[in-house]
Symmetry: C2
Subunit: 335 residues, 2 copies
């Protein structure tokens, strides 16, 4: 049995969608057992008793607007998130899923579950949509605003194993985000990271990619520091949203547009779904001693179930031990 801790109170629509998502997950996967952490009464409004769902009662919730994530973790020991983290830490469960505030999850994962000893930094790694519908891993999008090249190498190894075991890609291609495609471009960070990636036997490095390729590249993994990744990811979101509203405005601006819309309503619906991340589940937090999945704050039950499915695969395919082995090999080689 794979045991998954779920922060039932995190996210904009908790505990409804977290409970519904958990119920869907145990239906779909015979090999998982879920512990919901949260307000028993509120959970019971939605939960239909199931032999593989337990509830652990907690009294606090970490607020979505929390500004100081470390204080939030320290001052809310009986929150659904922190209690779920302790259950992972103490081995009652093996992975964590939460739709709570991102920075609190990252801080809590650090403080409670702790970093893997061979990973020197953690990273927030969403799977971002692509024009061909495959999805690819982008990291870091904001766990560390500054990273060194050796950190990016460790994270690239983690991402490579994740793409193989979780996305099912045989030899995942890694690309470095940069301001030009040629070797030698970028800041010292990119120049140094380029060399480390190029020379590592376990990394299938395809070189630099520019911002314009983010949705169309062949790469399975796109690597950058947390500042750039955060700006980049939000720029994709913002541009997609702005274009969506401009399209709507133009269609509404004339009778022809409105009639045309009646004919192609379904097409436009499919279009707007193509950059929607909800199919994919959550963002992964790389580098923690257990799999931690951060579901989107506004997740539907379906997206939340997908986040639980992600956590399940991490445990099932033993991603963390594989990462540890890869890092150990890298260290031995360097000595």
């Amino acid at each position: 049995m794979i045991k998954i801790a779920v922060d039932a109170m995190g996210g904009d629509f908790a505990p409804k969608i977290t409970v519904l998502g958990a119920m869907d997950a145990v239906k779909q996967f015979e090999d998982i057992e879920i512990t919901l952490f949260g307000d028993q009464d509120k959970i019971n409004e939605f939960l239909i008793a199931h032999p593989r769902i337990k509830v652990e009662k907690t009294t606090q919730v970490i607020d979505m607007g929390e500004k100081d994530p470390i204080r939030a973790i320290r001052n809310n020991k009986d929150s659904s998130m922190v209690r779920a983290m302790y259950s992972v830490k103490e081995g009652q469960t093996q992975a964590l899923v939460s739709a709570g505030p991102t920075q609190a999850i990252i801080a809590g994962a650090h403080l409670v579950i702790k970093r893997m000893s061979l990973m020197h930094r953690v990273a927030l790694a969403p799977i971002i949509p692509s024009t061909d519908g495959r999805g690819r891993i982008l990291l870091d999008v904001g766990a560390n605003i500054e990273l060194r090249s050796e950190h990016l190498l460790e994270l690239a190894l983690y991402a490579t194993i994740t793409a193989r075991e979780y996305l099912g890609i045989k030899d995942p291609k890694v690309a470095l985000i940069n301001i030009g495609s040629e070797e030698g471009k970028g800041r010292d960070l990119e120049k140094e990271t380029f060399q480390l990636l190029k020379n590592h036997p376990m990394i299938n490095f395809m070189g630099n990619i520019e911002g314009k390729e983010v949705l169309s590249t062949d790469a399975d993994i796109m690597l950058t520091d947390g500042y750039t990744g955060n700006v980049l990811m939000k720029t994709v979101e913002g541009t997609a949203k702005a274009m969506g509203s401009m399209l709507k405005e133009e269609i509404k601006s004339s009778l022809g547009g409105k009639i045309g819309y009646l004919f192609m309503r379904k097409n436009l619906k499919r279009f707007s779904k193509r950059l929607d991340a909800s199919e994919i589940g959550g963002a992964m937090i790389f580098g923690i001693q257990a799999p931690v999945i951060k579901a989107h704050g506004s997740s539907s039950a379906y997206a939340f179930k997908n986040a639980i499915a992600q956590a399940r695969l991490f445990v099932k395919n033993d991603v963390l031990n594989q990462v540890n082995e890869a890092l150990e090999k890298t260290l031995t080689k360097e000595e």
Copy 2:
């Protein structure tokens, strides 16, 4: 008379579009005189003699694929670009317009025309489209991959005066690109720059903006280092392009889509024009001793004419002297 030097051989469609753009410009503006630098025979294929257009014969062209921009400038003294730069340097003309390779223009502007003594860095500053059609200045998009906070302050002053004198905005709002909107977010660069901008009397600072606001913010000027700005700008371009092709795919995928298209063809055309930069002209190079405008490599004659119009306004409204005055005041205050 405002005297403008035009690199007639730069860009993908030179000298056809540069010559046609120059002819349109002298028609539209009675107060400009243009000197075209380039291959006399090729220019003559398109040029209709005009009293305010002169031609200076040059024998070399800086290749669009040039990898080493500094070498390109040094080894091509008789190129249309370098000769046009010397004419600005020596005072025969007052501003430069080129659609040649960006990095060569930046290098040449540095080496030949030189930096303003009070500006410690130059920046490449395109005007990027926005959902409301106003356009706003983004900088730096790649002249300097690393900048310090005091450089960003100088560039913000330059941009403020440009937005006022060129875009006609009375009290232009400056925003700092960051990973969160609150004060205190970001790297040391953003934290320090935030304080400098907040405390400068000539800057109307509105705070941090995130990547998702790039197309929808109220800001007139968006400030960041050249690495982030380059990634950000290309991400907007790439996302817009990817969405355009996905929309096309979905529309073509069914009969309903195709029929709908017939009704809303005009609407979709307007939609695809809204993020098109050709209306706007070129990117400005801030910090050089004369106005330098880099037109897009694939500019149409119309876009190239707009780039010439930009150069004209820079000279007419005496932007550089105003920037110098603002920088002098800043220095005096600091002493």
